[in-house]
């Protein structure tokens, strides 16, 4: 019996509420999978819509690493990896009726275990992107 890979994502703000222009710091790591089973890992900061319409998606930040692209001194794709990005001015998180806009950090891994095809696993960590506090006139 094999466990599914465990993808852990941690954001710098515990309440995961950010404002436009904030710097988002993220760390992720992968467990319950062997190093040589890992083919690639991708991390993205993106927004997506949900609700009654088709899903739209906007990728703000993206990085991909494969075994080949890693440094020779650290080829293991599972290790704790850190990245930062400055969050954009729009679109804000939105909880409407037919339309919702959600932000998340998404980590996607491709693994191949013995005798099996390549499989992908995805884990999202949501966060909120807010407006600034109201200006006082």
């Amino acid at each position: 019996m094999q466990f599914d890979p465990l993808i852990s994502i941690r954001l710098d703000l515990a309440d995961r509420e950010y404002q436009s222009g904030d710097i988002l710091e993220c760390e992720y790591q992968i467990d319950a999978v062997e190093s040589d089973e890992m083919h690639a890992v991708e991390a993205a900061v993106l927004w997506y819509t949900s609700g009654k319409g088709d899903e739209d998606q906007g990728i703000h930040y993206y990085q991909r690493e494969t075994r080949k692209s890693r440094h020779l001194d650290q080829p293991d794709l599972r290790v704790l990896t850190h990245f930062t990005t400055t969050l954009p001015n729009s679109p804000f998180s939105y909880e409407g009726t037919n339309l919702k806009i959600q932000w998340c950090v998404r980590v996607r891994i491709l693994i191949q275990r013995d005798g099996q095809n390549l499989r992908e696993y995805i884990h999202d960590q949501g966060f909120q992107l807010h407006r600034l506090p109201l200006l006082q006139s």
């Binding site: 609700g51 009654k52 319409g53 001015n89 729009s90 804000f92 409407g96 037919n98 339309l99 109201l134």
Partner: protein, 351 residues
């Protein structure tokens, strides 16, 4: 100084015309309609009595050009007039689907927020910005014109053919079935579509469109802006109401089905006036304030979903059907580098 209805030489003086603009529209429409009908009638007789040789080609080109200029004059006359605001806006919007504004600085600064296009925004008279009309009936008007032209041509053709048949054949051999079966319906269709066209033109020409001008663009949540409305003409207004509207528009398609749903999430009445008269000496001119709710979501646009803001006017007039028009607004998100809300006013710059 009141304007003369008819004046041989009209002059443009600044932003004013010395001749009634309504006369201009009527004249343009009448001229184009005359050209179109002349072309259609000539076309019918041309088809019934085709000349030989080069003459047929030349005559054909002349007749086609009459028809073409007639249709073009009708359409552009309506486009160029105030009534064409909706059509003009729709056409420009369609052109902008292929625009590269997404790569512009404004789009990079505010991803998925509609940009304010200075091509669409014209300076107002009393406020810095005049809002473009986003709803009109352009397709309807063109369809009515096309329908009218088609059935008029068919009717004339059938009349000409019947007369031709009657004259060239023996009367005893004249077949009654063609005129009986086809003339009446086609003349009926032509007459009915002509009535529809006349009604559309009457509505559009006699009712000056409402103009809406705003003090600030873009807008921000919590911001209060001045809105000026104006309307000319000669009308008795039963009621005129303006609303601030926010909608979620979502599209779902799967395989063969496409389903678009528009859900209003805010409708706030911002202006109302009842039972008053608009005359050439006393046009409607009002100014009021509108506040964007502080917790408002900014305008958003993606492939299948959007959130849009607009001002909607609902006018009920004596002797005319209710008229609804929409005026697009763009609400931007508040962020650190945003222009100071109080100063986001009338400089005509792209965001």
């Amino acid at each position: 100084m009141s304007r003369q209805l008819i004046r041989i030489l009209g002059k443009k003086r600044g932003s004013r015309h010395s001749v009634s603009s309504k006369f201009g529209v009527i004249g343009n429409v009448a001229f184009s309609l005359t050209l179109l009908l002349l072309g259609l009638i000539s076309g019918v007789f041309f088809l019934l009595n085709l000349p030989d040789g080069v003459a047929s080609w030349l005559l054909g080109i002349v007749i086609l050009s009459f028809i073409g200029f007639g249709i073009q004059g009708l359409v552009t006359g309506l486009l160029g007039s105030r009534v064409g605001d909706g059509l003009r806006f729709s056409l420009i919007q369609n052109a902008h689907r292929f625009d590269l504004t997404q790569k512009s600085k404004a789009a990079r600064r505010l991803p998925n927020v509609p940009t304010i296009d200075t091509l669409l925004m014209s300076p107002g008279n009393t406020q810095p910005w005049r809002l473009p009309v986003t709803t009109g009936k352009p397709i309807e008007i063109i369809s009515v014109i096309a329908f009218f032209a088609t059935w008029t041509m068919v009717s004339f053709f059938l009349v000409g053919y019947s007369i031709n048949q009657y004259r060239t054949t023996n009367h005893s051999g004249w077949s009654w079935w063609l005129p009986t079966l086809s003339l009446l319906p086609s003349i009926g269709f032509a007459g009915w579509s002509g009535r529809m066209l006349a009604r559309e033109l009457k509505n559009q020409i006699n009712i000056d469109p409402l103009k809406v001008e705003v003090s600030h663009q873009p807008l921000y949540p919590g911001q209060t802006i001045d809105v000026a409305i104006s309307q000319g003409g000669a009308l008795y207004v039963r009621s005129l109401r303006l609303f601030l509207v926010c909608e979620e528009v979502t599209s779902y398609h799967q395989g063969t089905d496409v389903r678009t749903e528009t859900l209003e999430i805010l409708r706030e009445q911002v202006f109302v006036q009842r039972r008053f008269e608009i005359t050439s000496k006393a046009p409607l001119a009002e100014t009021f304030t509108v506040t964007i709710p502080p917790d408002a979501m900014h305008s958003f646009q993606s492939n299948f979903n959007c959130l849009q803001w607009r001002i909607e006017s609902v006018g009920r007039y004596r002797d005319y059907a209710e008229i609804r028009r929409g005026f697009s607004l763009v609400v931007h998100p508040l962020f650190e580098d945003a222009d100071d809300v109080n100063n986001s006013s009338g400089d005509a710059h792209a965001v």
